[in-house]
Symmetry: C2
Subunit: 371 residues, 2 copies
DNA sequence: CTGTTAGCGCCTTCAT
DNA sequence: ATGAAGGCGCTAACAG
């Protein structure tokens, strides 16, 4: 029998080598040393440390192992563990590259929850590019993540996502069940409901001549909101809503080009008389529009009421508070992780249980209520 | 010699097993299959794929390998690669848990730059807790990241950071060279200079009776800013600046408790006469204070000018624009990665080259200039 | 220029 | 209840 050159049997400490090859110098304490120090076999130590059920050792032995681990400062190499077991205790998150508050909050909620359960998260930002998405999924795949939480970009075939699904990789998407060509575990909010909340709130305050403020490019989430709001307005017999199609391509618009603000000012000065409330598809746009309206001498909410969407922090500012609709982002992030975890643990629930939809809620403030 | 049961020699495809044990069913195409399909040895393929300099093969062979890789859809397992080579193509980032814009921008800049160079980033949020920091560093260590970019928390011994340094792990910190008990590669901005910019700008506009607005808890970064500003004011012979110590513990204060806003209102109504400008330690606080001041009937900037710090997006809003000082966050994120990369590549420059300090810049707006 | 060999550190089946 | 042995997929030193 080949003698394995007795590796890992001293407390020797060597140069930091690139591993591989036939080095013998040890650079970190391995399970081997722990086993040796305890007079046990590595497999026994492994079994105990991983709490394997079939590994029943005396309490004394177990304590000795734990004690030795602490004394030697042993930490298992997750790389090696991953190679051997297939599990890496690492998740992947592909989010949007836009520096927008809701997106950040959601990502952080996910990461925090994952970490509370022993996972770290590889975070990748996607500029809403289908090709980039494919690559990024592949990069996560290369690292054998235990699961992925993905905000799929608007378009594209999402080939790599489908491939992951096919290979049985735990996967949860955000806001995508309604627009992906294949079934998938998903977390989202009921955006139509959110839109309805916006419209109902205004109706209750007696507003009926509504104008939507939105960017040029539509996306699924925004379309849903508008559809929900329009439905309510139609049912209430309101006149056809106006549309202010603000020419901005991407967030942020706050410091956007002057033309953007000029456009809004111009639109308001020409059409403000025709309506008594504005529904913005996002808080940032809502705040901008509201500020410009006030500069034009319009009284908010007497002349014009404003409702936003997202519940960004600034909407709560004390001098120009904006009524808004907020999604429960923390809950959504947590739910995404839990969905992932149940897949990782092999609890493959029924598909309908894998799609969690949260209800957004209205936060009424002075931009509609008045002070 | 033990025959190794000829592993990896078929195109067989088996169940997704947890690896380990003596399974023979293959579940993914390995370097072995590529080598076999080319009639080469795995090590040759490995050498070519990793562009190892000592591996000189004919162009024809190389093309055949690439072709086969593409045809078979081979992707190297970074887990296995990491175990064998010690490099994981993965970095760690420990940032602040505070959902604040500058912090996010910096993290994203780092992640994006790392990704452009083939690295993915494990992102961890730290609630400014020394114990958590130690744990988090350890978790990254467990995963053998190629390097770490860390925003060390305010206090604590930072034992694990020191340990990483001792073990030669590439490490870059943010805003920490001036307050850590050991030398380290670091990226930061010249915050004193930023404070000076704030003060000088006000002096140039003829303001001399300054009030600082800050939170209760100090931190190194904020102390630096204030120190810089105070120095300038002192040299100009201004009267002793006032201090508005707003009682908020953590960000965000935007939607903060009513008492916070009450405090600011109260302070302003009692002390506004005594000063002609306010220097806020952050934009969010500056915007709040400015808004409340206007509500109290003060004219901005005639009665009271406002300067913030950070350059958050909302400071650029078109109806209440706040003069501010901005750090070049994108550059800083990129620099952090480059510093890490040079360490990874073994280019251990002189220490003084490892500490990069960026100059913040003033963005003058109506809160000081008037409209 | 290519193949052989010996690990990287851990897990897991199976025999004891 | 414990230990021996093989393998996860790849790299790297060395011999041809």
């Amino acid at each position: 029998m080949a003698k394995r050159s007795s590796p890992n049997t001293g407390v020797s400490r060597g140069a930091v080598t690139g591993a591989g090859g036939k080095r013998t110098a040890r650079t970190r304490v391995g399970i081997h040393q722990v086993a040796a120090a305890c007079g046990l076999a590595p497999s026994t130590v492994s079994g105990v440390l991983n709490q394997r059920t079939d590994c029943r050792v005396s309490t004394k032995t177990r304590d000795r192992i734990y004690e030795t681990v602490r004394r030697l400062g042993y930490r298992p190499s997750l790389t090696a563990k991953g190679l051997a077991s297939g599990r890496t205790d690492t998740l992947g998150l592909i989010g949007t590259a836009q520096d927008i508050e809701p997106s950040n909050r959601l990502c952080y909620a996910f990461e925090a929850e994952a970490r509370r359960h022993g996972y770290l998260t590889l975070v990748i930002l996607n500029p809403n590019d289908p090709d980039a998405e494919d690559k990024q999924v592949t990069w996560l795949d290369d690292r054998s993540v235990d699961g992925m939480f993905v905000l799929p970009c608007e378009d594209g075939p999402h080939d790599q996502l489908a491939e992951q699904l096919r290979r049985g990789r735990p996967l949860v998407t955000l806001d995508a069940a309604g627009r992906l060509p294949f079934p998938v575990a998903d977390v989202s909010a009921d955006y139509q409901h959110g839109g309805r909340l916006q419209a109902q709130h205004l109706l209750e305050l007696g507003r009926r001549r509504i104008c939507f403020a939105n960017g040029l490019h539509s996306c699924w989430v925004v379309d849903q909101r508008i559809a929900g709001a329009e439905q309510v307005l139609l049912e209430a017999g309101c006149p056809e809503p106006l549309r202010m199609n603000v020419p901005f391509e991407i967030f942020p618009i706050m410091a956007g080009p002057a033309e953007t603000h000029d456009y809004i000012r111009d639109f308001l000065s020409r059409h403000a008389q025709e309506c008594d409330a504005i529904i913005a598809t996002g808080d940032e746009l809502g705040i901008i529009a509201m500020g410009l309206a006030m500069q034009l001498g319009l009284k908010v909410p007497q002349d014009l009421a404003f409702v936003g969407y997202d519940g960004i922090r600034f909407a709560a500012n004390p001098f120009m508070p904006l009524t808004t609709v907020a999604n429960p982002l923390d809950d959504m992030g947590r739910a995404a992780f839990q969905l992932l975890r149940s897949q990782i643990n092999g609890e493959i629930g029924r598909p309908q249980d894998m799609q969690v939809i949260f209800k957004p809620s209205l936060i009424a403030r002075n931009s509609t209520l008045g002070s």
